[in-house]
Every structure is written in structure tokens, then in C-alpha cells.
Symmetry: C2
Subunit: 361 residues, 2 copies
């Protein structure tokens, strides 16, 4: 076995080592059953226990009130972009969207194919380097919900405070899932892809306020209906067994670490150390994001030239600091430091950044 | 490690042991990369190689002509039920469906929410114990495609021959995927959930004729569009990494075993042994399915009473023959004997059936 690297990938991304080791141990013969969990019927006792525990832990750790249900739906956050207007916009209603960057843009483009939606605030003029203040968000009449992307994985921005508006919020929290508490009373639905803070790729985890399912649209295929997923306990059809199983293990790890408050504090410390290193570099490293809106999960930064960025990324990999390249649409560097990234990984990156700057000076 | 059981589950279901053992070996540290494959970016070299090899092997083993592309789409066969009419039915067109049982019924109900569809043949009068002859299938004008469920997992029936009609076929082959050759020239699209012959749950594998994507519907969210999945090589968004990875390993196993012809022969032998045992039991075991339409994958049978069935199932489990209970909607017994079920498992079941009958006589 080779030495474990520090993996700053934006997703799929680093997972807790003990989760991987436990899954490895159990993969061929699950708890002495004479078969793997991934070979078992999803309606059998073993997987029912796994999925039930994962759902209960998700509610507990994310501090979701009992008015919500948690659902596991395949298709990632991207399928949710379609399902939201399909389920929630009735004739005469529209959905407002905050356009905060690449992922919000996807939610808007996909949503527009299945409902009447509009942009309630657009960050394009600021090159998506900040989030709006509440008074900048312009809601139209008959707005059913305001959709926000609470953290933009590519732009490296997040809402520093939760918007307080006159309609329910729907939040894509993909890249900061279970990294800070949510003001549940303002939300009708919270969703995100699992493949960042929650486990491997292959599903979205959706928290939905149960009361809004009472009059959600019914003239849809079953897979596209939240009420059907909810009534079936996410098992009206065959669920994504392995992602749910790993999700449960990640949740147990989070609970053992101390839960949401500890995740939030660690994220502030890890991102704080990186932003501090950037600030202290005298402009050698530069983060374009407005200070108050800087993400605690995805730290984006530039070097003085693309040539230096290329050299930096190459030498990082030699030093075991992997996948620091920015998204192909924006370039530069990005350190994704999700819940499972140890503080030691961030410290190693901070050290390397100082070393690289000194060596190139 | 406990002794490996024979698992007759209808899906998720038994997988080749060597596939599980290889995946276990690689789970924490993939090929010396210092991280797990499920932690890696799907756009990185490791996973690109894994997915590319899986797609190429899928085309090769299933003998798909180059006019087709293979896609990996989350949501199982069930999401496909919605996507088919969404993508392929234009105004004025309709889809014909053969109603052969539970799964066809799902395709019809879900499809009707997103397009104009009708039942071209209905097996209800025969209690879904057979498939139609070609002349029984009634196509209407403006029919874009005929949808068939080539093997009904719950009813235990399959098409003994492939329908030859005047419109393109779309086939749900979930429960007999890569278990017999397909007459590709008759099909526009072939699909199925992975969690039977192909690997763990978490995606559908879709073979689509590329030319039909040129004028498929575009006014849909990206996740619901086949052309978008095809153009992005099934990676326009984060794909289901672990299911694709295991699928590739299952395909390698199939190739090593001898490929499709060997799978087809073994399925005939294994199901033949079971149906023979049923026939030889003098009516103690009874299969309700018309002989020519009996599935080679899902062998359904009844015992003289529900009490005996309960005893039979319970004693089977004690003998290491697991998950033989029929679907909850129909009761009875069902032996799902997918590609990865060894002949020894079927032989053990045949022996046990004789033993049980003798002991109860």
C-alpha cells in the first residue's frame, strides 16, 4: 500500500480513511451473511437497517426538524434542477433564482425547461465574486420559492448569512453539505450531490418539508415526484445501495468527531489558515473573492502567472498535494477542503505555498 | 469469513466472487494512487480509463454495432420510463407498449405522464403468463416506437422470439441484460437497470442508436436528454463512479468466461435444470408460465400450499439457498439465476427441491 495523499479534489473527493477501511473489510462478506451488501435485496433486513440508520443520522447530525424527511435520489444535484419546478410550480406561479455562478446557472437553465423561472439577482457584473445582500434580491409576484446555491464550488463563494425573504427558500448545498447549521424554518427543501461531504457519487440527498408534498404536482412519472420518493422511504424503486451505505458510515464518522458544530469550526479554521496564507503572501497568491463571501470549502486562488500556476500544481503533486487545479472553466488553483480533509493536509499546503513562493522569489 | 451462500435474489443480486474480491483489494488505495477510486475526480486519468474500458467492453460483449452508443444514467430503469417519451415522442406521435406484467405496467404508467402512449397488447387476460405473437400486437398510426419488456422479473416470462414489427423497438432488458444476443437492427434503444446481470444498483445502462438523437426533443433539462448524456460521454455531470467501476469488472469476468454465447448457453442449462425438476415433480412444484415463454433468468414456481411454501423457503435458508421468496405482489417462490449464479447453486437447489418433496410426502 502506497502512502496516502492529500486530495484537494472538488468532488468526488477525499473521504475519511476509516470509512474506506471499514467498507473494505465488509465488502465481500457483510457481517457474516455469506454475501456482499451490494448483492442483497434492498428490501431485506440488512439493507433496511443500513438505510434506516443513515436517514436517522442524517436528520440528527444536520439538526433537521421533524417537519422534514430525508430522501436519497439518483441523478445528483443536476436531476434536482429539473425536479424542483416540475414538482413545485403550479400554473401561475414562478420560481426566483439567485444567479451566483456556474451551479446556479445550471439550476436556472435546467429549471427553465420545466417551469416559469426568473433571475432574482445576477452576480455576472461582479464576475460572481460575491453573494447578494437581501435587499438586492428582487422577487416578483406569484413567486413560489427563491432558489439559492449556498456555496459555489467553482467560484469559491458562499452566502455569509442566510437570506431572509418573503418566500420559502430552496437551497443547493452540494459543496457545503453538513458543514454549517441551516435555518430550517426558512427552507422548503435543501439538496445536494453526495460526492463532496457525504460520500461517493451516485445520489442527491434531499431534505424536504413534508407539508409541501401535499399539493406538489402529481402529473409526473414516479421517479420525478418527491411525494413518491417520500412515501416509499426512498425505496419505491431500487435505491443506490453503495452510496447510501457509505453515506451512513460518513455520518457515523461525523458524529464521532463531534457533529455539525465541530465540522463548522474546523472548516473555519482550515479555510482561515489558507486565506491567511494568501493574505500574507504580499499579493503573490491572490483570491478574487470578496472577503465576506469566501467559501469555507473551496478556496480559489491565483499565482502571478499561468506559467507559475502550472509549475505550482506540478510541484504540489510531487509533494503529495493532489488535485489543486481550478475548474477548467476558470483556471487558477482551488483547494477543496471538505469535512474529511484533515487539518494536517491544509497545514502541509500552507507550508508548501510559502516554500514555493520563497523558491521562486 | 463465513461460507458464501447461494443468493437467488432478483436484484440486487449475486455477483462474481472474484469481482468482489478484486474491488475489495483496490478499495482503499487504487493502483498505488494513495487514494480510493471513489475519491478521485471523474475527469481524472484513472476514472476516465475505467469508464472508457467499461463502455468499450459493453459494446464488445453485447455485440452492439457502431451505430449505437452506450450510456450510464442514474435512476435505474424507472427513470428511463419517463425519459423515453420525453425524448422520442414529438407532437402527433405516439408510443405503443406491450403490457406483459409488472415492469411493463410501470413503463406504461410513467410514460403516460410524459407522452401519448397506448397498450398494443395486454397480457392481463392470461394473467401475464405469456408474451404475444407478432400478429397479436396492434400498432396504431403515427406510432414512433413499440416498447417491450423482454423479460418480466416478477412474472418469470420472456419473449421466446424477438418481435418483428413495422416500427423500431425499444426494449427494457433489465433482468436478462447480456444473457442473449439482441437483433440490433430492430432496436432504437435498449436499456435496463444494472443491478441484475451487470453490477450493483445505481444506474441504468442504455444503448441508443445515435441517429435517433439528431431529432430527439431538446426542450428538457439536461439530465433528461439522451443527446446530452451521449455528447458528454455519460459525464456531463458527475457519474455514478462505483457502479461503473464494478460494471467494468463484471464485463471483464464475462469476457473471461467466454462472452455472450457462453452466458446464453449457461442460462439455458441452468433454467432448463430447474424447469425439468419442476416438470418431474408430478405437480408438487408448479410453474404457471406457458412453456415457450419461460424466463431463463427468473424461474417462478408454486408448492401445493402457502404453508408448504413458507416451510420450503425457511428450510432453503437453513441450507444456504437464500432469497427464493417470490415478489410480494404475487407470492410463491422465485429462483433468479443471473449470469453470476454458478451451476453448482442451481444443482444444490434442484437437489434440495427433491429432498424437500420426498420428506413432505
Amino acid at each position: 500500500m502506497s502512502e496516502r495523499k492529500y486530495n484537494f479534489s472538488a468532488g468526488p473527493c477525499t473521504l475519511p480513511l476509516e470509512v474506506l477501511e471499514e467498507a473494505q473489510q465488509e465488502l465481500v462478506d457483510y457481517h457474516g451473511a455469506g454475501m456482499s451488501l451490494i448483492e442483497m435485496s434492498h428490501r431485506g433486513a440488512h439493507f433496511q437497517a443500513v438505510a434506516g440508520e443513515a436517514a436517522a443520522l442524517a436528520m440528527e447530525i444536520f439538526q433537521a426538524p421533524e417537519q422534514f424527511s430525508v430522501l436519497f435520489i439518483q441523478g445528483g444535484a443536476t436531476l434536482q434542477f429539473a425536479m424542483l419546478p416540475m414538482n413545485f410550480l403550479h400554473t401561475g406561479q414562478q420560481g426566483g433564482y439567485v444567479n451566483s455562478g456556474a451551479w446556479a446557472g445550471g439550476a436556472i437553465a435546467d429549471g427553465a425547461a420545466h417551469g416559469r423561472i426568473y433571475t432574482a439577482w445576477d452576480g455576472a457584473d461582479d464576475h460572481y465574486t460575491r453573494m447578494p445582500a437581501d435587499h438586492e434580491i428582487r422577487l416578483r409576484d406569484d413567486t413560489r420559492y427563491l432558489h439559492i446555491t449556498t456555496n459555489e464550488t467553482i467560484g469559491g463563494i458562499r452566502f455569509p448569512h442566510w437570506p431572509e425573504v418573503e418566500v420559502p427558500l430552496i437551497g443547493d448545498v452540494s459543496s457545503e453539505y453538513m458543514a454549517r447549521p441551516i435555518p430550517w424554518e426558512r427552507f422548503d427543501l435543501v439538496y445536494g450531490g453526495a460526492q463532496k461531504n457525504l460520500g461517493p457519487s451516485g445520489m442527491a440527498v434531499v431534505f424536504v418539508r413534508k407539508s409541501v408534498l401535499e399539493n406538489s404536482n402529481r402529473d409526473l412519472a414516479r421517479y420525478l415526484r418527491y411525494d413518491i420518493h417520500e412515501a416509499g422511504g426512498s425505496m419505491f424503486n431500487t435505491p443506490p445501495v453503495f452510496p447510501i451505505y457509505l453515506f451512513g458510515k460518513v455520518l457515523k464518522w461525523m458524529k464521532k468527531q463531534g457533529g455539525l458544530a465541530v465540522m463548522e469550526r474546523r472548516a473555519a479554521e482550515k479555510s482561515g489558515a489558507l486565506y491567511h496564507a494568501i493574505e500574507q503572501s504580499g499579493g503573490y497568491y491572490n483570491c478574487p473573492v470578496e472577503r465576506a463571501c469566501r467559501s469555507h470549502m473551496n478556496v480559489v486562488f491565483r499565482l502571478p502567472s499561468e506559467a507559475l500556476e502550472k509549475k505550482f500544481l506540478s510541484e504540489c503533486e510531487q509533494a503529495g498535494l493532489m488535485n489543486l487545479k481550478g475548474h477548467r472553466s476558470v483556471g487558477g488553483c482551488r483547494a477543496s477542503i471538505y469535512n474529511a480533509m484533515p487539518a494536517e493536509g491544509v497545514a502541509a499546503l500552507v507550508d508548501f505555498m510559502a516554500h514555493f513562493q520563497a523558491a521562486s522569489g
